[in-house]
Subunit: 325 residues, 2 copies
């Protein structure tokens, strides 16, 4: 029933895999609205995925991740690579759909048939967003894009995140990103594959690069990939060719070392667990919304009659009973 070997593909899957931009847009809308057709589509096209190079861009708001991605897209287009951008950073101009002023650099890509840009808004803490984003990345991959660039916020803790599903992770900082440096130093933030110090025209750039280097030196191990620290001024396109080159270099490195396959296997495993966990959590929330007995459980916790852990176990039992019906 779900062995992935479908003999006949749906027309949408066909046109998506042929690279049709509107079909990709439609697919992502289905995914985003949690339409079963979206899930069915990803199931159909999944065997065609795995070819795209998936790069995650993370970093605090305001460092210019979207400008960087815009400039990088122009660079990748020079090599005739097809690019898809998925933005799930609520502070991003992509996400806000801002199309004016110095963002004109991004908008030029909207007219380019080789570029697909899509943003997704946050959908609360239930994990529904990463779930949809992961599926969207698969659809982008299946549509034949050479590069999928994911933009997300991420400072501080190494939470399970969409960026964990990338082959290469780029952390963007700018002079003044003190908190991120501290988090790197303290080992609280995971080490990315490439670090970009954007807005490198700032007088404090040298200091910043030095601080990043010293933070990295604490964790570097012999034989490991040496995380490059690049300087860019994305708004003027400076340093962006170097970034594209380093991305290619990292990709070659993980392929040679065999870690690409390893990373992808780990990512896919986490994706399966993550998707299952989201579903379970949604079921819990539904029971809590709909079952008066579950609501009573919580009321008793609030009245300090029943402790949260016991209530959790009883909630799980109720959830299983619901399924049994």
């Amino acid at each position: 029933m779900a062995d992935g070997t479908t003999t006949e593909l749906s027309p949408l899957a066909e046109s998506l895999m042929a690279g049709d931009k509107r079909s990709l847009a439609r697919a992502i809308t289905l995914i985003e609205s949690d339409d079963p057709a979206g899930w069915a589509l990803v199931r159909e096209v999944f065997p065609k995925t795995g070819k795209a190079r998936i790069t995650g861009f993370t970093g605090p708001p305001g460092v210019g991740k979207s400008t960087l991605i815009g400039a990088l897209t122009a660079e990748l287009r020079k090599e005739d690579r097809e690019v898809a951008v998925l933005s799930i950073d609520p502070s991003s101009p992509f996400t806000k759909g801002a199309l004016l002023g110095d963002r004109i650099r991004l908008t030029e890509h909207f007219l380019d048939r080789g570029v697909f840009i899509r943003s997704m808004a946050s959908r609360g803490a239930l994990g529904g967003l990463s779930e949809a984003a992961l599926q969207a990345v698969l659809a982008m991959d299946a549509s034949g894009k050479d590069d999928v660039l994911i933009e997300t916020v991420g400072v501080g803790q190494g939470e399970i995140d969409i960026v964990d599903h990338a082959d290469t992770i780029v952390l963007a900082l700018m002079p003044g990103s003190g908190d991120s440096i501290q988090a790197l130093k303290a080992g609280v933030m995971e080490i990315p594959d490439i670090i970009v110090v954007n807005k490198a025209d700032h007088p404090m750039t040298d200091t910043m690069v030095r601080e990043v280097r010293s933070a990295l030196s604490l964790s570097h191990q012999a034989g490991e990939w040496r995380v490059p620290i690049l300087r860019t001024e994305a708004a003027r396109g400076e340093g962006v060719a170097e970034l594209a080159a380093k991305m290619a270099e990292h990709r070659a490195w993980i392929e040679n070392e065999g870690t690409l396959a390893e990373r992808r296997a780990r990512n896919l495993r986490n994706e399966v667990v993550g998707l299952a966990a989201v579903r379970l959590r949604r079921r819990l929330e539904a029971v809590l919304e709909e079952d008066p007995e579950a609501a009573r459980l919580v009321a008793r916790v609030v009245d300090r009659e029943l402790d949260p852990a016991t209530a959790a176990i009883e909630l799980l039992e109720l959830t299983n009973e619901e399924r049994g019906k």
Copy 2:
């Protein structure tokens, strides 16, 4: 079976509730090692909880949260309040057990019978840490502490976190916390109840306070609590009395507005759901570890034969079968 009404209390529960420090330490060790006795104990003492004032301290590593908490503890002791500190910040000197140099300020409290300090190390992304931390906070509350202070890292996104279970949330920053300011401005970080700019002897403090104020002004609504911005130099105890006063003021405000009860009800509800979700996730991981069929599912995803969403559904089915056995 689990209605929380036990007529006879265990000796450990008795001594814990009598305020015995060693019993509290033992209880938290049981909780941390996931010993069923720890869960049973929290179940016993839960009806006695709800009296402590629970304050969460968040902010990037390096801003001096632990020094601030140390100085605040001294301040609260002057009012003869009993204090428990729970640190779950991996970059904290509490967590590292550092007892030297300028941290002498903290260590003096270890000898004070009215102060209990405990740290918990991160236990991976499975959520096991927050689960244990929540139970530890309940044990501290039941032991008769007037204040429970929780120290945690948190920059950027509003993830579900231990800090969400506090009555009052204090965000600590320092001059140079540019990323946090950007995150506040962009609406990516949740607005805390009190903001402290620590290390206020820094020349950039005024600029920092101005930036924080402007970031807050974007989100302030009439009739809401007005988030105070305090300056402290915790290492010298400066500004700490003001922090204690603002904490008391916020507490009075949420009590008068009725939002304390609302917050606690919401927190407890989230705690029940969170605990249930952690258990479910653990069950999923166990099935994936132990059931060869589950391992085959993942292998098929890695081979791009089966898409992750379908694999997740099949994993859920396997998990239910496991339970049926």
